[in-house]
C-alpha cells in the first residue's frame, strides 16, 4: 500500500508532472521516469514532446549542474540510467512518428580505450535531440570509423577518449581522413575528460565538446551551418 506521503504521479497535471520528472531525473529514479513517460503518452503527448520537454529538459539541468560542480559522475550516471528507462519506451514510438531528423552521427571511443560512459551519454543526448546515432562502441581503429562513415552516409564523426595516452589517436583518424580527401565531408567532434579546445584545434577537429549538452548544441550549430553553406552554394 502506498505511504500517505507518496506522490501519485498520475494525479499531477501535465505541468506538475514534467516538473516532477525533472526532479526524478535529477535523483536518478528510473522507475518513476518510466511511469511518468507512459502517463504523458497516455494523455496524448507526442513521443517527441515527451522526449524533448521532459527528458532532455531534465537532463540539461543535470548536465549544467555537473558542469558547475554541483553534481558528480555517479549522480549523472544515475540520471542517465533513468533517462534511458524513459527512452526505452519512447524509442520505438519515435521511429514510427515524424519526429525531426537532425542528421546522422557515427560515434565511438578510440583505439586502445575502453571507456564509454561519456560517449554513451553523448549518444543518448544526441538521440534525444533528433540525431540518428551509429554507436561503434569502444576501442575503434581508424578503419572502423571510416568504414562506418561511408556505409552510413553520416554527417558527423564523434570520437571520445578518457586517457591522455589514447587521445592522440584522434589525430591519426583525422589525418587519415585528410589523406583520403574526405575530411571536409564530415563534421568532426571530439570529447573526453583530458581534452580541451586547444587539443581539438591542434588535431584538426571541428570542435571540442566539453560535455553531452555542449555536444548537442555544437552538432546542431554545425549542421545548420552546413545547410546554409549548401543553400548558398546551390
Amino acid at each position: 500500500m502506498a505511504d500517505e506521503d507518496d506522490l501519485i504521479l498520475s494525479e499531477l497535471d501535465d505541468e506538475e508532472l514534467v516538473a516532477q520528472m525533472f526532479d526524478d531525473l535529477y535523483d536518478g529514479l528510473r522507475d518513476e521516469i518510466m511511469e511518468a513517460t507512459q502517463i504523458l503518452l497516455d494523455r496524448g503527448w507526442a513521443p517527441y514532446d515527451v522526449l524533448t520537454k521532459a527528458l532532455v529538459g531534465g537532463m540539461t539541468i543535470v548536465g549544467n549542474d555537473f558542469r558547475d560542480g554541483i553534481l558528480f559522475v555517479p549522480e549523472v550516471l544515475l540520471a542517465a540510467n533513468a533517462m534511458k528507462g524513459g527512452m526505452s519506451i519512447l524509442k520505438p514510438l519515435l521511429a514510427e512518428t515524424d519526429a525531426p531528423r537532425m542528421g546522422k552521427m557515427v560515434i565511438g571511443t578510440v583505439k586502445g580505450d575502453i571507456h564509454d560512459i561519456g560517449k554513451n551519454l553523448v549518444a543518448m543526448m544526441m538521440e534525444g535531440a533528433g540525431f540518428e546515432i551509429v554507436d561503434l562502441g569502444i576501442n575503434n581503429a581508424v578503419e572502423s570509423y571510416l568504414e562506418a562513415l561511408a556505409r552510413e552516409k553520416a554527417d558527423i564523426l564523434g570520437m571520445s577518449a578518457l586517457l591522455t595516452t589514447t587521445m592522440p589517436y584522434m589525430k591519426v583518424v583525422i589525418d587519415t581522413m585528410k589523406e583520403q580527401g574526405i575530411r571536409d565531408d564530415y563534421i568532426v567532434l571530439v570529447g573526453g575528460a583530458p581534452l580541451n579546445e586547444e587539443f581539438g584545434r591542434a588535431i584538426g577537429a571541428d570542435a571540442y565538446c566539453r560535455d553531452a549538452a555542449v555536444a548537442v548544441e555544437t552538432a546542431k550549430d554545425w549542421i545548420s551551418r552546413r545547410h546554409n553553406q549548401m543553400q548558398a552554394g546551390a
Binding site: 559522475v73 555517479p74 550516471l77 587521445m167
Partner: protein, 188 residues
C-alpha cells in the same frame, strides 16, 4: 637532493631510501588524491618545487605524466628539474616499454598503495559505496584486475583478490617490485 613525489609513492620511496641507504634524499609528498583532478597536479608540483628548491642542490619530481597530458613535463622543463618517464605508475613499475608492448587495454591496475586505499581512491569516489548498481557501467568493459605488487605480501594479495571480486573482474597477481621508480631515483 629533494624528491617531490606523489603520495601514492611515499611508502615505496621511503622503503627504497632505507634499503639503498640513500641518506642524501629528502622526501616531500603531495596528496595522492590529486590524481582525481589531474589538471591540478602540475600547478601543485610547480608550487612545491618553487617553495623548496632554494634549500637543495637538486630537485627530482617523482611523478610520471599521471594524466596531465604533458603539462607536468612542461612544468618540469620550465623549472629545470627531472621527472619519471612514462604515462603513469602502472607503466613505470612494470617498465614503460614492457607495459606499452603488452597493450592490455581491458586491465584495471592496482598497486600496493591502491590495494590498501581502494575504498578511498576507487570505490567511494566512483560512488559505488552509495550506488553499487553503477559498477558495471564503470567496469563492464574491463576483464581483469592486475595487482602490480611492489612487495610480496600475501595479506595484500588476498585483499587485492577481494577487490577484483567486488568489481566483478578476473584477477592476476604480478610482482613488479619498484621497477623504474628505483632506477629513476638511482639515476637522479
Amino acid at each position: 637532493m629533494l624528491v617531490i613525489a606523489c603520495g601514492a609513492l611515499a611508502r615505496e620511496i621511503l622503503a627504497l631510501i632505507g634499503q639503498r641507504g640513500w641518506d642524501h634524499l629528502d622526501l616531500h609528498c603531495l596528496p595522492a588524491i590529486l590524481h582525481n583532478r589531474p589538471d591540478r597536479i602540475a600547478p601543485a608540483v610547480e608550487a612545491a618545487v618553487t617553495a623548496r628548491r632554494d634549500r637543495y642542490d637538486r630537485v627530482f619530481v617523482a611523478y610520471a605524466d599521471c594524466g596531465t597530458g604533458g603539462d607536468l613535463a612542461r612544468s618540469c622543463a620550465r623549472l629545470g628539474v627531472e621527472m619519471i618517464e612514462g604515462p603513469h605508475c602502472y607503466a613505470f613499475y612494470e617498465g614503460v616499454a614492457a607495459f606499452e608492448a603488452k597493450g592490455e587495454v581491458t586491465c584495471f591496475y592496482l598497486t600496493d598503495f591502491l590495494v590498501r586505499q581502494f575504498d578511498a581512491f576507487v570505490w567511494e569516489p566512483l560512488g559505488l559505496d552509495r550506488h553499487p548498481e553503477l559498477r558495471d557501467m564503470y567496469f563492464g568493459n574491463y576483464t581483469t584486475l592486475v595487482y602490480q605488487a611492489q612487495t610480496d605480501d600475501p595479506a595484500l594479495t588476498d585483499l587485492a583478490r577481494r577487490h577484483a571480486e567486488r568489481l566483478g573482474l578476473g584477477f592476476e597477481h604480478r610482482l613488479t617490485g619498484y621497477g623504474e621508480l628505483e632506477t629513476a631515483l638511482a639515476r637522479a
